[in-house]
Symmetry: C2
Subunit: 333 residues, 2 copies
């Protein structure tokens, strides 16, 4: 065993600090899938300002917290939220063990292929579907099922894995931020346990940096050892006004950068915008019917109406997917 | 602006990895306040094993999660939990605005100096005290009050700041672990909002690595901007079986090291011990009536009974404060 040479470590950290302080552009463009323009420039300037030693807008490394909504901000959310697609796939997979579903709604409609009819039955139907597929098992059993689904299930339109339908420009942004000492978090209305099994591999975001909706879990000592059981009881809804609450609860600091795409993100964006000092507020606007989807004020999924008005009134950065993004998905040419 | 030289970064990271891979001992002892002996050796061996590239017990950096109880594990908890001392100090400070407390229990007894009498009134009295001092304000107002208290309030016995009554050997352990790529977390029955304002400065643990008990908070848009208001409603109790639940909720991975000091930590220790692969389970045993306090099976605070039996049955590491620690507090000679 060698002695830890603290001098070497200090030297190395100093070199590293200098290296990451340099601000990339040109051939080493950190955001190659973003078209040149005001949006890209705003991002580059914000990061340069926040990380320039001695500059007036320097933000200490520990305060460099950036939060991202997931559905519609980091990956697609059409024609239905991907977590709902998981639930529907699971109903089919679990049906052989549940003969009673043949005569019980909403499962009866679902198994007959009538997804629209099943979902039209309202909130109770939705809770029954989520309850059947997300509760009554241990956290490890659930995580295993999600992992298998994420590795195999394919989107009906693109034919790609759901986890491949992530936005290449946002992947570049996440990496770029982390290079400059930001901690990147997901703050999503989606289930925290649903996201954690695949976000590290997909986004480079570790499970401990995921904030999401949750159900109650309960500790149980079984003969085989301790387990946590997912109960059919909602604990926290990380959406709308729940997002700043979730950020405060899990992170305990106010972010300096927040990105969303819908009215469900508005309070998170307001909370970040009210920070003293540097902050960056971004909205992904779905304007590309050809390469992705185009929707905003009238959409049932990812409705963007009041938050878009506020963004325009306050000068938040609105990403125009069609104009600002050279490429949408990593598999795009 | 210079171009980010990724080659330099990669090189520097490689050097850094080599440097921290070296295992310190001798004159560069990372744990100078720990007496030589089985306990210290067990810690050093665990960390060396978990971080030796190519070794059979290597744990990947992202899995190096270490969790620590706070009261009685990182700082003292006698004669009353320090958070309760905060609440009592606040009752006195707030009394001028609450003339009704002169005739309302438990405040009447408290303000007359009869702490024991006030606390003897049971759970309802305790909730009234916590409610009056921990709720009905914004998260930022609460944080400010805690910060002021932490910077000035002194322990009745030692005359030192409460935040100075932290265990020097544990501070060294936290630093040592972080040097080897561990993420150190607090997992405490104490209030998450009570700990976050001072833990970073005191332990080097950032607010986002604190798990604790919480009340419900609510987002409100005020004319001055958005706030989060602390409501008089318990949300989560991070104690006993709540600790593995809290770990799963906040961190989403199982720790490889867990340290506690009481039966309230038992389920957290069991949950960590049930991990596949390397793990370290530690208990701080308060055996030093002279330099700190001596208590275990019969104590009302920090009772250590069943967890001590389990530790002995299963070979968990029990730290004998009196024998294993050269120094207790940073201010000790």
């Amino acid at each position: 065993m060698r002695t830890l040479n603290q001098g070497v470590v200090a030297l190395v950290l100093a070199i590293l600090a200098t290296a990451v302080q340099a601000h990339p552009e040109g051939p080493d463009d950190p955001l190659p899938s973003w078209n040149d323009g005001a949006t890209k420039q705003a991002i580059l300037k914000f990061v340069a300002d926040a990380t320039t030693e001695g500059g007036p807008r320097l933000v200490s490394p520990s305060e460099r917290i950036a939060v991202f909504d997931n559905d519609g901000t980091l990956w697609s959310e059409q024609p239905i939220y991907f977590q709902l697609a998981y639930a529907l796939d699971q109903v089919k997979a679990m049906a052989p063990e549940h003969p009673e579903w043949k005569t019980t709604e909403p499962f009866k409609s679902l198994l007959a292929g009538d997804v629209k009819g099943a979902l039209a039955q309202g909130n109770k139907a939705m809770l029954d579907i989520i309850g059947a597929t997300h509760t009554g098992m241990t956290t490890e059993e659930f995580s295993k099922t999600v992992t298998e689904w994420a590795a195999t299930a394919k989107h009906p339109k693109s034919g790609h894995l759901y986890t491949e339908m992530v936005y290449q420009p946002m992947l570049e942004l996440l990496t770029y931020l982390r290079t400059y000492g930001f901690k990147t978090y997901i703050v999503s209305g989606g289930g925290i346990e649903f996201m954690r099994p695949w976000v590290e591999q997909t986004y480079g975001i570790p499970p401990e940096q995921v904030v999401g909706s949750s159900g109650v879990t309960k500790f149980e000592m079984r003969p085989t050892g301790p387990v946590l059981v997912k109960e059919a009881k909602v604990e926290f809804v990380d959406d709308g006004p729940g997002k700043p609450v979730g950020i405060n609860h899990f992170i305990g600091r106010r972010p300096i950068m927040a990105f969303g795409n819908s009215d469900g993100d508005q309070e998170m964006l307001q909370w970040t915008a009210a920070r003293n000092g540097s902050r960056f507020i971004g909205i992904v606007h779905h304007t590309d019917a050809k390469r992705e989807w185009a929707y905003d004020r009238q959409s049932h999924i990812g409705k963007l109406d009041k938050a878009l008005d506020e963004a325009m009134a306050k000068g938040w950065t609105v990403v125009d997917m069609q104009k600002d993004w050279k490429r949408i998905y990593p598999y795009d040419p």
